[in-house]
Amino acid sequence: MNLFTSTIGQPNAVSIAFFFVFVAATLVITWFAAKKSKTASDFYAAGRSVTGFQNGLALAGDYMSAASFLGIAGLVALKGYDGLIYSIGFLVGWPLIMFLIAEPLRNLGKYTFADVVAYRLRQKPIRIAAASGSLMTICFYLIAQMVGSGSLVNLMFGLPYELAVAIVGVVMILYVLFGGMLATTWVQIIKAVLLLGGASVMVGMVLAKFGFDPSALFSAAAEKYGQKMLEPGGLVSNPWDALSLGIALMFGTAGLPHILMRFYTVPDAEQARKSVFYATGFISYFYILTFIIGFGAMVLVGQDVITKFDKGGNMSALLLAEVTGGTMFLGFIAAVAFATILAVVAGLTLAGAASFSHDLYVNVFKNGRATEEEEVKMAKRSTLVLGLVAMGLGIAFKGQNVAFMVGLAFAIAASGNFPALLLSILWRGMSTFGATAAIVTGSVLAVGLIIISPTVWVSVLGFKQAIFPWSNPALISMPAAFFAGWLGSVLVPEPEAKARYEEQKIRNYLGVGVE
């Protein structure tokens, strides 16, 4: 199959049209949402009016980034079975969110997960620590998305990198600034439906070529590239590294601020649970599709063609779209991928703005005594600043390998955010000092170890030998954060916090006093 005449890299009329339709439609929604978005609860939490099903789609939308769509499809197309390992890792955090934190989060918090950690502790130290953890996670995730979007759009449409970053930044700022969480939620829902629909159609067309028998597709892959494509290969060579990555992916999901923030958009714990169930279902389905898309690209496009366009295989899904559905379908999938970046970046920015305004401005600088108008105003200003910062970072990091930033975001989320959150829900003895120690230890250790690990020390800084041998630090930094939380609470106990645990429990389990 000769595909060197692919139109990827040239401005594609169909995809530009689709993209404009998407942006126009979502901006109309933003305009409607803007009229409804007045209070802080509207801005951060869509007025708690989102249903479980809608929020499930929105959660899936927040989670299914272009990186996981294009990146995992590419990984499967080039490495076969190993791509599935990543999909599984990205998925299995969801049940934990459900079993451990969905209800307490909805019942105890208002806008950010720091609400839960700070519930019975002294506000200032917790808010500062938790906001730093959130903002660090968001920043690294944001850089990865922005750099990814620039190079992706550059590859797909032939638009200049900087222009692509600017378009993403400006449209995202418009969504968040004017429409707040309501608009962001609907952008996520539309994007999730388009992504799931587009991927389903693509899988249908691939399977049609193999008589709707997936094993025929796998056999074709094995015959073309060898049986090793269907076996686990070299991606996880060091067992401890594999375990550490597994921990980061699993617990990191349960500590991502933009994901946790979505639990405040639903009215109660029941809807919060339902939304996790729907999200888990959509994401599972999506990763299974991605697996088939990857194998489809391997067989129908061919690995040599894929690597010609991009060494990392990121163009596999798009090339497959062109092979199965022609330029029209390529245009559609390319536009969906672009929309995906836009939506994820909007979700991240909103979470960052909430953390900045609600945690730092209101609860630290204003001692909790800001009016709602002041808070929303500050949230909007932070949105603007964060959007500009995101564009700046996206341009500054041009051409960098950003894979480690996603790893870093997950490692900080798993080590800096998740232990403090879980301990404050489950453990009566948690003190302000302990919680702060957990957050600081987890995030500092995660960042520090990543810097001296092969991902930064060797790949970015160019040293020969890494000081820390694993590519992910979670196996050390997450237990260390739990230990620091325990030790800090034992060394500096807080009787008032203990006394308030009963009250927290009643609200946590019975939902009494929830907004």
Binding site: Y81, L84, I85, S87, I88, G89, L91, V92, W94, P95, L96, M98, F99, L100, E103, S215, F218, S219, A222, E223, Q227, L230, E231, P232, V236, N238, P239, A242, L243, G246, M250, A269, E270, R273, K274, V276, F277, T280, G281, S284, Y287, I288, E502, E503, K505, I506, Y509, L510, G511, V512, G513
Partner: protein
């Protein structure tokens, strides 16, 4: 509503039941996932075994891990939205007296 108006035994039961369900499901998920990762890390050839002409055991096992995550979240929602919420309602009714 004051905390002391709660039937403490009923409440303690609720909390105990909630965590026995939550923690055992968490443990099961950890066993499934890390079982898979450890198999991958230490005993790769099990997953590489052929179960058809080309098909390997790893593919259905991988898909089963994904499905298990879905099924378990589904079971938890069903339990929580019926049994758990019913107990919560009963406690709240008693509190109102």
């Amino acid at each position: 509503m004051q905390p002391h108006s709660i039937d403490q035994n009923e409440f303690k039961d609720l909390v105990r039941k909630k965590w026995s369900v939550s923690l055992s499901m968490t443990a099961l998920m950890l066993v499934i996932y890390f079982g898979f990762i450890l198999l991958l890390a230490f005993n790769k050839h099990v997953l590489a075994q052929k179960i058809g002409e080309h098909m390997t055991l790893g593919i259905p096992i991988g898909l089963a891990v994904i499905l298990s995550a879905c099924v378990m979240t589904g079971l938890y929602v069903r339990w929580a939205n019926t049994s758990y919420d019913r107990s919560v309602k009963s406690i709240l009714d008693h509190m109102k007296g």
